[in-house]
Symmetry: C2
Subunit: 402 residues, 2 copies
């Protein structure tokens, strides 16, 4: 893609995302859903003005990193400590139930498969794709609603982060059945090592930043170096420990969340997000699919895939939340907040294709699940919160694409 | 370049640019020069940690657009009207003298060439590469010094913008000698048409933004849609009128410069610039070259090319400034401010290679001129201003990479 095309596409994305975001707000839907629909409209599905490209993917990736970093920055550590056990239990059920559900769905469509057979692993892989929650849409919606740093918000975000880690372990285990070069203990060891590494580096970095913070408060070097830390930890997590880059960015945010200047950093990050990277990221979800290519067989399977994908997360996480004493609408909010899928599901699907455990045709199902869940999650979450408070309007403050 | 590489390289660029920027400031040199040197250090010339890539070029281009847009936004229109005639005359001499100088340099090296011969056009093309001033470094330095919106600052920036337009006309004329498909009147017509188009679109856009400004002051939609306007005009300028994209972005800034919220927009743009796009752009100038590949023949020619390139701009623009009544150090500041070359010179060189009027070897000379002029201009400008006021320190405010 040449430079002129970049400028043209960015101009279209910014205007379309903003316009559809405002339309969505008028319709009492979240602006994030508007931006995704904007991507569908301007993308190959409808107008074809903008196509997905390496450049836009790179920009979207930076957007995700910034989003997760800001989520980490805004984490209330005391609440995370309080919600840690709950979050882990919710995450476990949020991995287990969709894994079983996806496996059974595949067998329901193509017949029962003997454990150990090739078809069995294919079925199991469909389940695996369903495991990883993508927290970014939920984070965004919770932020729009001003609930991100509430106890429930922290529980959902923590659960989604832990869910990612467990999901990646499950992926490695399932692939490990086919490929004898990866070892399950090795994966677990790497994950543990990353958190040990992050703890040590985090402590040192925190002490350095604390000095900066004291000596040069509110100077540009603080948000600039914070952003570099987010990029660096995201890179190190994925490259050296096999942990998702967004987890690294989130951890970077948590490391700096106790700084005096953490709100200063988060405000600067926010401006970078809503001006350019946010719209590009949310639009790119809509851009990545072409509705026209979908045929009836794929559509039928995809329909089941989407329904199973959403319900198993709601049932698994919601039930566990209920067991843990989160009552009424709140347990439903946990389930709905955990049902979003995103780039991690795409990455899992891609790895499945690489090792020959997933056919390309199912990629459409994954993209449909991402779109449907990304649009439904914020709408339902907003309705659930509105039922409680009677206010469904988003405030301009803290709103990614306001 | 894959996603992990993007994150790794961005982390390195941000830290290196910030660190070298602070070192430069300690040494009383401008931070911009520090960021360029950072690019040389981390790039293929020395450490090789970061290479130039399509993704980084795209990011750098967005950085240039933002920079030129902000320069336009901060333009004092009343002063531009006052300096318009002066700026045009300075720009004309700033194109004419380097054009002659470059042509003579080539003939001095390779022997006199008969007008109309192939060698003559090659000589003329070397002159053409020297015509286009890149104002971005100067804009940055003037902003660091707090002189961007002074009368002298406006004169220099206006002259550099007009210089670009004239430079592109010269390029088209020179290429036109070889290629009969481009016509000189056509080029001039296109340029005039662009400014007519920008005037009409600008008036309509300004009226719409003025309403937005009144109805929703200080909301996110204002800087977001402004950025979209900058991208759109940059694209339209280059794609439909053959005018450089940065000229389009500058015009977009001028259109919005009379808005009440123009400082609000410019502050948001500034945060986007200094966090990520600014460091990437300035580093990428250093990244684009590999000092190791330079041999003695190229070095000798390049040395002459750099000296002629710098002196002809200083002489041409400085002399005209002096004739126009700008006295003492101020006329020298105009000459020095106009001597920076940048991406436009690279684009001109690339077009020359495409049509076979420039050999690849001279590309190194162009890059060297860009680096030397980018480093020298801010240092000399700062010294000239320091001689006057006795203060050479940059303020944190308005400083791209502080």
């Amino acid at each position: 893609m040449d430079t002129m095309d970049i400028l043209r596409q960015l101009a279209i994305i910014i205007v379309a995302a903003k316009f559809m975001g405002l339309v969505a707000r008028k319709l009492r839907a979240p602006q994030v859903a508007g931006a995704i629909v904007a991507g569908l409209i301007i993308g190959p599905s409808l107008l074809g003005w903008v196509g997905s490209s390496d450049f836009l993917s790179g920009m979207a990736e930076i957007g995700v990193i910034m989003l997760m970093f800001t989520a980490g920055l805004e984490t209330n550590m005391q609440q995370l400590r309080r919600t840690g056990v709950k979050a882990t239990l919710i995450a476990c059920m949020g991995v287990f139930v969709p894994l079983i559900g996806g496996t059974l769905l595949f067998m329901g469509f193509y017949g029962f498969a003997e454990p150990g057979s090739d078809a069995f692993y294919r079925a199991l892989f469909i389940g695996t794709v369903l495991t990883a929650t993508s927290v970014s849409i939920t984070v965004q919606t919770l932020r729009e609603l001003g609930k991100l740093s509430s106890e429930l918000g922290t529980t959902i975000v923590s659960a989604a982060i832990i869910d990612d880690v467990i999901g990646i372990i499950v992926l490695t285990v399932v692939i490990g059945f086919k490929d004898p070069t990866t070892s399950i203990p090795g994966v677990i060891l790497n994950t543990v090592l990353f958190f040990v590494f992050a703890g040590v580096v985090g402590y040192v970095t925190y002490m350095i930043f604390k000095k900066f913070d004291k000596r040069w408060p509110h100077t540009r070097r603080i948000p600039i170096l914070s952003l570099a830390l987010a990029f660096a930890l995201a890179y190190i997590a994925e490259e050296f420990f096999g942990v998702a880059d967004i987890t690294g960015a989130y951890v970077a945010g948590i490391i700096l969340s106790s700084l005096q200047d953490s709100t200063y950093i988060s405000r600067k990050m926010d401006i970078n997000s809503y001006m350019l990277f946010g719209p590009v990221f949310f639009c790119s979800i809509g851009l990545q699919t072409n509705i026209r290519e979908v045929n009836s067989t794929i559509l039928l399977f995809s329909l089941g895939f989407v329904i199973v994908g959403l319900l198993t997360k709601i049932a698994g996480c919601g039930l566990m939340a209920h067991i843990l004493g989160i009552r009424g609408y709140d347990s439903l909010k946990v389930g709905v907040g955990m049902m979003t899928r995103g780039e991690v599901a795409l990455i899992v699907a891609q790895r499945g294709m690489t090792v020959g455990m997933l056919d390309e045709a199912y990629f459409t199902s994954v993209i449909l699940l991402i779109i449907v869940s990304s649009i439904l999650t914020p709408i339902i979450l907003k309705l659930l919160y509105a039922k409680e408070t009677g206010v469904a309007d988003a405030s301009e403050q803290g709103d990614m694409i306001a």
